[in-house]
């Protein structure tokens, strides 16, 4: 243990030292002022303008000519409607992607679970597939898939499904490996058919763990899919990209509040379902 801790300390020192030496650890020219300005923008989320906005904001050119009049309240109200639709898209991408990943991973989990003793080459192949897809980020899958199936939620669903397949496969096969084999043998010993062994012994034992893992990864994917819009898969990520590239921190603040509410409420719900299952 001692030398591992030492090696870790050395690695940290090396990372920090080399960055300082290359002069890459600067904080910019006036970080404090920038921080205060950004924080101020964030503190005024754009949705407040639905009530507080200027109903007749006048845009004038330099010589004072009136270019147009904008109702800020209407503009932000429309933005909120767009935001609702984007949230719905994100939720749909995450839900379908998670289900796709769970379904894809099931056969692979069955092959990799050690106590099921699948043929070795197949087990290795399945394990290889799971390891590869788990190590490729959703965004990378998304970028590749956008090139294949085009822009839109399809790419997002496939990207989420492919990446989370790896995580599902690992969790599912662990659930299968923790099965009580003696109880399964006891059910077989009364002359139960394979289907009955599955229905009466295997399924009741793994189902709660499967559902629990599913809720967990589903929740994770909701967070993950908010970023997918960046690569053109639609949803909240698109609004995040838009807001950041236009430096509209107020709007970004609104979007992030929605993300937090979405994730937190899903978390509360899934926690309750998990508690009821155990």
């Amino acid at each position: 243990m001692g030398w591992l801790a030492l090696a870790y300390a050395l690695l940290v020192a090396l990372c920090l030292g080399s960055l300082i030496q290359e002069d890459e650890l600067s904080m910019g020219r006036n970080p404090i002022a920038n921080l205060l300005k950004t924080a101020g923008d964030f503190a005024h989320p754009s949705f407040l303008d639905v009530w507080l906005g200027n109903p007749a904001l006048e845009y004038r050119s330099d010589d004072g000519t009136l270019l147009r009049v904008e109702n800020r309240q209407d503009v932000e109200r429309n933005y909120l409607a767009g935001l609702a639709e984007a949230t719905w898209t994100t939720l749909r991408i995450a839900t379908l992607g998670s289900l796709l990943g769970a379904l894809l991973s099931l056969p692979l989990a069955l092959l990799t679970a050690r106590n099921l003793a699948a043929p070795r080459p197949l087990a290795w192949l399945a394990k290889g597939i799971l390891d590869v897809v788990r190590s490729i980020h959703t965004l990378v899958f998304g970028l590749v898939l956008v090139g294949i199936v085009g822009l839109g939620p399809t790419a997002g669903i496939l990207a989420i499904g492919l990446h989370s397949m790896g995580t599902y496969g690992k969790l599912f096969s662990e659930a299968i490996e923790s099965l009580d084999m003696a109880a399964i043998n006891a059910v077989r010993s009364v002359g139960a058919s394979p289907a009955q062994v599955f229905l009466h012994a295997i399924w009741p034992a793994v189902m709660p763990q499967f559902i629990s893992s599913h809720l967990y990864i589903w929740e994770f994917n909701i967070r993950d899919s908010t970023i997918l819009g960046i690569i053109g898969a639609g949803g909240l990520g698109l609004l995040i990209t838009e807001a950041t590239s236009l430096f509209q921190w107020g709007r970004l603040s609104t979007v992030l509040i929605v993300v937090v509410i979405l994730v937190a409420s899903f978390d509360a719900m899934s926690r309750r379902i998990r508690a009821a299952l155990l």
């Binding site: 099921l116 109880a183 006891a186 058919s193 009955q196 599955f198 709660p208």
Partner: protein, 271 residues
């Protein structure tokens, strides 16, 4: 006289280069109650596994309830054999997440055929039978309790109720009282004797005090061979002491055996 329930002739079971069981001849008639005794590693659990068809290929002749076990059975034959052979194993092998009643209902799975394989529904008759079986072991009030919430003694009783539900012709019990306190052990033995009424009962026993209640005939196993085969009345303490006397000098090594699980831990869903 009817055909024997068990007929063994020059049976040899070997695994990993070691002979586990080597029995020249053994006949068990219907309705007999046989106790099997012997030190650890004598082949008691192997004998039960061989009889239940959970055993790898072997040499010699083994006929159980009319099924020839030395050849590979078809899946259907194996199912039928297992339905007729009730097993009470060392552990308390209930499905943890199912209720006591559902665990008892598992006993009749072998009798279910056709499309009902694929459903988890049971008929009203089966449900009534299961409730009656739970009542017989005194657990009718615990029917809806999940198996992992039951105490050790209650679980073993549920296993007995499952056995009652199964109505097997041959019962193989491996240390049915291993994990129980003396009072519960006696109660479970009585239930086992009750479940075995009209069936053939073969019990692996470590506690000689329980022999009389569970067996009329006692077989002593040592190093895979039959050391003695006597009516229970003729089994003396000296005989048992001689049987358990270790080859080396470790007199008091009488741990409960830990070989209930077969060496192969895979789920043989297709067998």
């Amino acid at each position: 006289m009817s055909a024997p329930v068990i007929a063994m002739d020059s049976l040899v079971c070997a695994a990993g280069g070691r002979t586990l069981l080597d029995i020249a001849e053994l006949r068990v008639q219907p309705g007999e109650r046989v106790g099997v005794v012997g030190p650890n590693g004598a082949g008691k659990s192997t004998l039960l596994r061989a009889l239940s068809g959970f055993m790898p290929p072997m040499h010699g002749q083994l006929e159980v309830l009319g099924h020839l076990l030395q050849t590979a059975l078809t899946a259907a034959e194996l199912r039928q054999l297992r339905q007729e052979v009730g097993q009470v194993l060392q552990g308390l092998h209930l499905v943890a997440r199912l209720s006591a009643l559902d665990n008892v209902l598992i006993g009749c799975l072998g009798r279910i055929s056709g499309w009902r394989h694929w459903s988890r529904r049971f008929t009203a008759t089966e449900n009534a039978q299961a409730r009656a079986a739970l009542q017989a072991v005194g657990l009718q009030t615990r029917a809806a309790t999940r198996a992992d919430q039951l105490s050790g003694g209650e679980r073993q009783k549920v296993a007995m109720a499952r056995l009652l539900m199964q109505q097997p012709r041959l019962i193989l019990a491996d240390e049915p009282t291993a994990a129980l306190d003396p009072a519960a052990a006696i109660e479970v033995c009585q239930l086992l004797a009750q479940a075995a009424r009209g069936a053939t009962l073969i019990t692996v026993v470590h506690n000689p005090a329980l022999l009389a209640g569970l067996a009329d005939r006692v077989i002593g196993l040592r190093a895979g061979r039959i050391a003695f085969d006597l009516p229970v009345a003729e089994v003396s303490e000296a005989l048992l002491a001689e049987l358990y006397r270790p080859a080396s000098e470790q007199q008091n090594q009488r741990q409960p055996e830990a070989l209930a699980t077969p060496p192969n831990h895979s789920i043989e869903v297709c067998s």
